[in-house]
């Protein structure tokens, strides 16, 4: 259960950070007219197609004492970033990035431009328009982004395996724990954990689809 709790904590931290970083990025992607925008869009989508081994490998090298990130971190905090909860958060933020940004972009783009124009005509600045018009209208997208990045981080395995070092209570997430149980041929324990994760994942995804439902009645009207 310690592993499950750790995974939840990691997923919550990652989802929060991704919302904070994701919103400005998504705003820019949704409204910029820059010609080279497709390049940044591709960059954001990369973790969708890259194997976790690639991300994990680069993360491990970058976090090492010879990597740029590792050097900076050691200078600041006196210890390495790999095998720590912070390192895991960083790797997971990269790994789940598109899961936060893409729903945000989609919902920002879905906001009627006329409303934005109206807001501007009435004298509201960019930030005020974002806060008062775009964000309220994009609420389902924001929820989707938060929930998807939470769920995706919860189910993360490869990257954690590569940079985590399997430390109980620090980097042994639930997926690693299940893997360990299977490796040790403890199928019963693996099954219990896996079932819990399955139930949580289903519940979380149900939230996404419920939020995005058009009709808000449990039974369709006849």
């Amino acid at each position: 259960m310690e592993a499950l709790w750790l995974s939840m904590k990691l997923a919550a931290c990652v989802a929060a950070i991704l919302l904070l970083i994701g919103m400005p990025v998504a705003y820019w992607l949704a409204y910029s007219n820059w010609r080279g925008k497709f390049l940044l869009e591709s960059l954001v989508a990369l973790p969708l197609v890259l194997p976790p081994t690639v991300l994990g490998f680069y993360a491990l090298v970058a976090m090492g004492p010879r990597g740029p990130l590792g050097k900076l971190w050691i200078a600041l905090f006196g210890h390495g970033l790999a095998f720590t909860f912070g390192g895991l958060i960083l790797a997971s933020v990269l790994y789940s990035f598109p899961f936060a940004v893409q729903p945000l972009v989609a919902s920002f783009e879905g906001v009627d431009r006329k409303l934005l124009d109206a807001s501007a005509v009435l004298g509201a600045g960019g930030l005020r328009t974002f806060w008062r018009v775009i964000l309220p209208l994009s609420l389902p997208g924001v929820v989707t982004a938060a929930v998807l990045s939470f769920a995706h981080t919860l189910g993360e395995f490869g990257v954690v395996l590569m940079v985590g070092g399997n430390l109980a209570g620090v980097t042994r997430t639930v997926s690693i724990d299940i893997y360990d149980h299977v490796q040790s041929l403890e199928y019963g324990a693996a099954n219990r954990m896996a079932l819990v994760l399955l139930a949580i994942s289903f519940a979380v995804l149900s939230v996404v689809y419920a939020v995005n439902r058009r009709v808000w009645t449990p039974w369709p009207a006849k």
Partner: protein, 265 residues
Amino acid sequence: MRLVARILIVLMLACVIARGVSAQGHQVRVAAAADLKFAMGELVEEFEKQSGTKVNVTYGSSGNFFSQMQNGASFDLFFSADIAYPKKLEAAGLVEPGTLYQYAVGRIVIWTPADAKVDVAKQGWNTLLDASVEKIAVANPEHAPYGRAAVAALQKAGIYESVKAKLVYGENISQAAQFVQSGNAQAGIVAMSLAVSPAMRDGKRWEIPAEMHPALEQGAIVLKGAKNKEAARAFLEFVKSTTGRATLAEYGFAFPEKPRKEEKR
């Protein structure tokens, strides 16, 4: 619609061609423990030259292969870092009778990068207690034979409790090696066979005396479900041959016949 049809046709063709490539016959499929990574490469090269039979090797943790084979994974040969797994497979009736063979005994070393602040060759166990060593990489003792050996040796040396908080666990011995080789851990207890590999040869190492840990008896078997039994047996024979053993010895493996030092009581 025509575009969709064309895309479908291209994808289906790609799928058929890919199948053709992967379904080629006359090859031996070997599952090998991660500690064999480098030795096995050379063994395979020599064998392929001699016999003309292609050998395909998959590296991983022995425990993982074991559970895969119990569930019907289609390998021809299995080289395990712990002979207990092949023995269990034999007991389960999944092994070609008479093929169980102990091909080597593994050795373990404490390894540090060349630029480490402590000299492991001189300091031995004390290296791990040094303040400059913040993390020590070992294989996961729960399912990796090398991890069990490392922990047993640490306990025998009487420093397990002092270094426990520094340990980080690799999924298999290769990953433990990679943790320390990449500099993320400052020292590691790894297989000699990896410590002498090209990427790690330049580091410093100190061999942990064999009597400090239970023997890492490594065993191989031909699986009953092997598609290419003759070739699999031939490859196993090659590993048993003088040439094969010379290659294993070159990569730091010992052999069971060598009398192990008696434990002092």
